[in-house]
């Protein structure tokens, strides 16, 4: 019974991490209809940003957010304007371009750090709580809380504010939104910026948990795709719930099967869902095809 509680705890905490990483990816997909293969790299940049803020200014990762988030917002907005905006109607070239960004960012960081592994100390990271006999790391708990807040905040922003409504209008029908006077291009780069800033948030909060390496971004992107596909393309709630499904699947597969096979199980489930219900649990049916129809 204690085992089960432990696995549940591990799964839910891991789920919080995945949810946090995936929210931005899903926002970008839902609005701009770009599958951003480089999203994991923005998480990685967030982690290194947190490290830089610690090494240079002595800031705690939780404070480094104030610097890292705006920086990643600007980077994302710039990439959307300079690169992806030119490839609006070309899904194949979008894959090439975002995969190129993935390679570029990963190897640029590798070249800059020469492959040294860093770790970021945090006041919160060392602490752990005991809940009903289950050890829970404070950093994971923080990531879980941040994922919840980010998903809720983003949901409110999209529903309640004028800008959020404009973003949703573009997501639903960019041509109609343009006719209603929405500056669609501006919405695109704003959305991409928000998406990358959310990845930066994930990076900062996860920095104390992981040992930093340039390759860590790629280890996030596939679980994040799994989350997005499971939860539903373009749905914020879907990304949040999907995170827990993926986290729990991984935790249970790691415990009851071989830990070495947990990824195989996870992706088998992922591919299964992709086939049976490509729109995900919370996505609109047909989104996987509508998403690719050219919008202009």
């Amino acid at each position: 019974m204690a085992d089960l509680a432990n696995i549940l705890a591990v799964g839910i905490l891991l789920g919080g991490t995945y949810a946090l990483v995936s929210v931005g990816l899903n926002l970008i997909f839902g609005v701009i209809r770009v599958v951003n293969f480089a999203q994991g790299e923005f998480v990685m940049l967030g982690m290194y940003g947190a490290y830089a803020a610690y090494a240079v200014l002595g800031l705690d990762p939780a404070v480094a957010l104030l610097v890292v988030l705006p920086a990643l917002f600007v980077l994302g907005a710039a990439l959307q304007r300079l690169v992806l905006a030119r490839l609006r109607t070309e899904p194949t070239m979008q894959i090439f371009a975002t995969f190129g960004l993935l390679m570029l960012i990963e190897n640029a960081v590798l070249a800059a750090t020469r492959g040294t592994a860093y770790s970021v100390p945090s006041a919160v990271a060392q602490a752990s709580l005991s809940v009903g006999g289950v050890q829970v790391g404070a950093s994971r708990l923080l990531a879980l809380a941040a994922a919840t807040l980010a998903a809720a905040g983003l949901g409110l922003f999209l529903r309640r504010t004028m800008l959020g409504r404009a973003i949703r209008a573009v997501a639903q029908d960019s041509a109609a939104a343009r006719l209603m006077g929405v500056d669609v291009e501006r919405i695109y780069w704003l959305t991409f910026g928000i998406g990358t800033a959310l990845a930066g948030l994930a990076g900062c909060l996860l920095a104390p948990i992981y040992s930093l390496s340039p390759q860590i971004g790629t280890s996030f992107i596939l679980p994040a795709f799994a989350v997005v596909v499971l939860g539903g393309l373009g749905s914020v709630l879907g990304a949040y719930v999907g995170g827990f499904i993926v986290g729990l699947t991984e935790a249970f597969a790691g415990y009851y099967l071989d830990p070495a096979l947990k990824h195989a199980v996870l992706f088998a489930v992922f591919i299964g869902v992709l086939i049976v219900r490509p729109s995900g649990l919370f996505g609109q049916v047909g989104a996987e095809e509508v998403g690719l129809r050219e919008q202009s």
Binding site: V35, L87, I95, G100, L101, N107, A108, K262, E288, E289
Partner: protein, 355 residues
């Protein structure tokens, strides 16, 4: 798109191409074959010119291998428009099939290439059958996930792959063992692979299957409405593409003689590089991937030699910039550039005639 060779996904063929297509009669396999053989003869001349120079021969061998692999990818990725990131899986299947048959049963690698082809094709059909209903990026994500599953299984199945320690083949010289001392033999071996792939590509491109694949890529609904069995066409294209990739995997393993699953299933080194080379050369064109490999592989090994010691990952930085640049500004690759240039020269000449 009257000229299928120019039909690169989504983008419109330049008007000059349509004009030349109207003039040129439809080329058959036998009509196209001399051009392919001429290119291959040129490559053989390169090997001859480089004889004695082991460094150049190594680069040539690697270029030919990747020319074949990118051409194989191009069958389903370029002609068929299905962006597969799972080709490193088929590559690894071929590598382990050939290696294990040789190590465990003593089967000569030359014969082992046949089951490598068959098994890679079978695995490809099995895994892509369910995901072929997905399009574009979703197909890419699903196939990328397959790579991850294969890596987990590869590391787990130690009896087959040697696990994370890798599998190695003892150095026993002999033509029957496909193990040579001189680099020339490897360059010729890979040239043979490149030739095989190129001829298959020409045959596919000029066949009913080739036209069906391009029809499916350009407009799946229209193709289906015209009576094309979309799934069967995609599966056949995938099987040929993956089978050839499997042969390439077998040859690669016999050349390096030691590899672990992480190396064989690496997206940067194989999975994506096939696509990258095809894009740089000319996506969906017959000779583009070969030209792309002849540019990218030497460039990469030069970069690695020049910059690798100074900056780790510098070669991949340059490759990624090329990739982004090509996606933005050179969507038709080297072949497209050449065509544009030829069209401009032709246009200049015809206006000159009129004057």
């Amino acid at each position: 798109m009257s000229n299928p060779e120019m039909a690169i996904p989504i983008t419109r063929a330049p008007p000059v191409a349509a004009a030349t297509a109207a003039r040129a009669p439809l080329r058959t396999f036998w009509g196209e074959l001399p051009r392919a053989l001429l290119l291959l003869a040129g490559l053989a001349a390169l090997v001859y010119a480089a004889s004695g120079d082991n460094f150049s021969l190594n680069i040539l061998a690697s270029s030919f291998l990747f020319a074949g692999l990118a051409s194989a990818w191009n069958i389903i990725g370029g002609f068929g428009g299905q962006f597969s990131l799972a080709h490193s899986v088929f590559f690894a299947v071929g590598a382990y099939t050939t290696a294990n048959l040789y190590l465990k049963l003593g089967l000569s690698p030359w014969l082992g290439l046949v089951p490598a082809f068959l098994l890679a094709a079978a695995v490809a059909m099995l895994v892509s059958w369910p995901v072929f209903r997905l399009r574009g990026p979703f197909f890419a994500i699903a196939t990328m996930a397959f790579t991850e599953v294969a890596l987990a299984i590869g590391n787990y199945a130690e009896w087959l792959t040697g696990g994370t320690r890798g599998l190695s083949i003892p150095f026993r010289l002999g033509v029957g063992n496909m193990i040579f001392r001189d680099r020339m033999s490897y360059a010729l071996l890979m040239l043979g692979f490149c030739a095989l792939t190129l001829i298959v590509v020409v045959a596919v491109h000029r066949s009913r299957l080739g036209y069906y694949l391009q029809a499916v890529r350009d407009n799946e609904q229209a193709a289906r409405a015209s009576g094309v069995s979309v799934l069967r066409v995609k599966l056949t294209g995938m099987a040929i593409s993956a089978g050839l990739t499997g042969i390439g995997g077998g040859l690669f393993f016999m050349q390096v003689r030691v590899a672990d699953p992480a190396a064989l299933l690496s997206l940067f080194d194989f999975g994506v590089k096939f696509a990258l080379i095809a894009l740089i050369g000319g996506l969906g064109s017959v000779y583009g991937p070969v030209l792309g490999a002849l540019v990218i592989i030497p460039l990469e090994s030069w970069l690695r030699a020049e910059l690798g010691g100074l900056l780790p990952g510098a070669n991949l930085i340059v490759l990624s910039l090329l990739l982004i640049g090509a996606a933005l500004f050179m969507k038709h690759g080297i072949v497209g550039l050449g065509r544009g240039l030829a069209a401009r020269v032709a246009a200049g000449r015809s206006t000159g005639d009129r004057a």
